[in-house]
């Protein structure tokens, strides 16, 4: 099985997200970077499938040169190959990102054969556009389902489990297919010593590409209004139990 996973480098903010003065970006001066939890789980899902069925995992990101860090992390937990699609400056809009990813996938596939599965996150952590995967899959003529909480390979098809309000829905996609993965599908592993070594040595291939700008334009970021809070300290230590139960009574949750 050949599986491609698309991941995006995003800042990892803590207690609050600060914005640069011009409102164009998250202020990352004191932040580390990560990939979205959904995509971390997509990498783990791909590695597990290859462990079961053989094959190899390729990770791809469209981003700044620094996004190599996220590709290497993916290699440290089991991906074999890594592809960087370099862009400068601002994020590309969803249409442009999807077109670029699709054209790089076409290139990779004409050189090395088709990917049986292309995995995305259900949504990226920062832009939350819910669309790059869907758009890229359509361009690549792959059937696509989002929200996957389970992927099983059964011959030439992929059985997808997904949660809905009513229960668990099952989808069956003929491969090659594309799937958007959600956190909770698995528990991503930590890198092994061997994995760390491999991630240092891996050759990250670069695929330059162009794509035309789409119709969704970011004008400015803004912070949502903060709820003013005047924290009432009910007490310290177990002695506060009585005050807590008083509160529960007052709120009507203690009956």
């Amino acid at each position: 099985m050949k599986i491609l996973v698309c991941v995006k480098r995003v800042p990892a903010p803590g207690a609050r997200i600060n914005i640069t003065d011009d409102g164009q970006q998250v202020d990352t001066a004191f932040l580390g970077f990560t990939v979205s939890p959904h995509e971390e789980c997509a990498v783990e899902a791909a590695v597990q499938l290859v462990e079961q069925h053989g094959g190899e995992v390729t990770v791809l990101t469209l981003g700044p040169a620094e996004a190599e860090e996220q590709l290497r992390t993916a290699v440290s937990v089991g991906a074999a190959k890594a592809v960087l699609v370099p862009i400068d400056g601002q994020d590309w809009d969803p249409q442009r990102t999807a077109s670029a990813i699709a054209s790089v996938v076409n290139e990779l596939e004409s050189a090395n054969g088709s990917f049986d599965l292309i995995l995305f996150g259900n949504e990226s952590a920062d832009s939350c556009g819910y669309q790059v995967g869907v758009r890229a899959a359509l361009k690549l003529a792959r059937p696509m389902v989002n929200g996957a909480k389970g992927i099983e390979i059964d011959g030439a098809s992929a059985k997808i489990r997904r949660e809905s309000d009513a229960g668990q829905d099952i989808y069956v996609l003929p491969m090659p297919a594309a799937v958007g993965v959600k956190e909770g599908i698995n528990l991503p592993r930590y890198p092994t010593m061997k994995g760390r070594l491999a991630s240092k040595k891996v050759d990250i291939s670069r695929s330059e590409t162009t794509a035309s700008v789409g119709g969704l334009k970011m004008i400015q970021l803004q912070r949502p209004p903060e709820r003013a809070s005047n924290t009432q300290i009910l007490g310290t230590g177990p002695e506060a139990a009585s005050a807590i139960v008083d509160l529960l009574e007052e709120l009507g949750v203690f009956k």
Binding site: Y171, L216, S229, T231, G237
Partner: protein, 326 residues
């Protein structure tokens, strides 16, 4: 010329988010001086036309095809895209739910048009001709983005719970449309379902007792379980907990977990990172139990107790039992 609201349903049962969509779409239609029309997909949703009329849809389009008996993102997206092509509405709005986002992404991809998801505000001077200015939620709602949708048909989803549904009954006509679906879009239709067992869930519970890294182990959740049971609630947790394998991801509150809205959220040993907070902030009341007086969750919550959760939580259970005389 119209605003088209896409009605989300599951096997004919309306999804509550659709009522906000109908309301917001009607408000926009009014400011644009045009009509709000609605679209249902699959004959099993035909009965929803009365709901659409109740919320002001002047025409309810009903997409029919033998294969549209259950949800399928590509089949729904293709059906809607065909109808949108023939109607040419100025604006299309779907719901800001998992399925809503997916169908709208499918529609936009098929029409090769931009889509702005999770909109919380629309430009009040938009008349249908100029680019549409919106505010949309990013980072699961921790951050907002002012954006501009520049396209002949503006395609958006409405962030859930941003518009209070209000009725505006009208007489509506129905328009049944038989769509042609290529076999390639039928693969992704739901094939089977395992029904959920009834019971209180994290999303619907009125009390959530939640634990973070401060709980320390899977076993140490037992006192939180006990307190939740005494209050008829459920246990939640932070991502640090699921990452450590202490609890299942179904218990996780936050951006990549569940959004909750209980009467009270009791957060024990949780620091209140923005990605956690965004899942908990709709709670009516929040009580933080934390060693650290400066923790984000403490400074943001309505109520706090400073102390060791391992001592405070059992003491609360004991006090409840004492007052109940058991």
């Amino acid at each position: 010329m119209s605003v088209l609201a896409i009605i989300e349903h599951d096997r004919g049962t309306l999804t509550s988010a659709s009522l906000g969509v109908l309301t917001a779409a009607r408000n926009l239609a009014q400011q644009m001086n045009t009509t709000m029309e609605a679209l249902t997909i699959g004959a099993n949703a035909d009965a929803l036309r009365s709901v659409a009329a109740q919320y002001g849809a002047t025409v309810v389009h009903q997409a029919h095809h033998d294969a549209l008996t259950d949800f399928g993102p590509e089949a729904w997206g293709e059906a809607a895209a065909q109808i949108i092509t023939s109607l040419s509405p100025q604006l299309v709005m779907g719901s800001g739910t998992e399925r809503g986002h997916e169908v709208v992404a499918q529609i936009a991809a098929r029409l090769d048009l931009p889509a702005s998801m999770n909109c919380t505000e629309f430009d009040s001077s938009f008349d249908g001709t100029q680019p549409l200015k919106v505010v949309r939620a990013r980072w699961g709602g921790s951050l907002l983005e002012q954006a501009e949708v520049d396209a002949p048909i503006k395609i958006v989803t409405l962030a859930n719970h941003t518009v209070e549904p209000t009725e505006a009954p009208t007489t509506s006509t129905t328009n049944v449309i038989d769509v042609q679906l290529d076999a390639s879009v039928l693969h992704s239709i739901v094939r089977d379902r395992v029904e959920r067992v009834a019971g209180v869930t994290l999303a619907t519970a009125s009390v959530v007792v939640s634990g973070g890294r401060g709980v320390g182990s899977a076993e140490a959740f037992a006192p939180l379980e006990e307190l939740a049971a005494l209050l008829g609630g459920v246990v939640g947790c932070s991502r640090a907990v699921t990452n450590n394998g202490w609890r299942n991801h179904t218990d996780q509150v936050g951006q990549t977990g569940t959004r909750i809205a209980p009467d009270i959220y009791i957060a024990c040993g949780i620091s209140g990172a923005i990605q956690h907070w965004v899942g908990a902030m709709a709670s009516k009341n929040i009580l933080a139990i934390n060693l650290d007086q400066e923790a984000n969750i403490v400074t943001k919550s309505g109520y706090a107790v400073i102390g060791d959760l391992h001592k405070v939580v059992p003491a609360v259970s004991a006090e409840i039992r004492r007052r109940r005389g058991v």
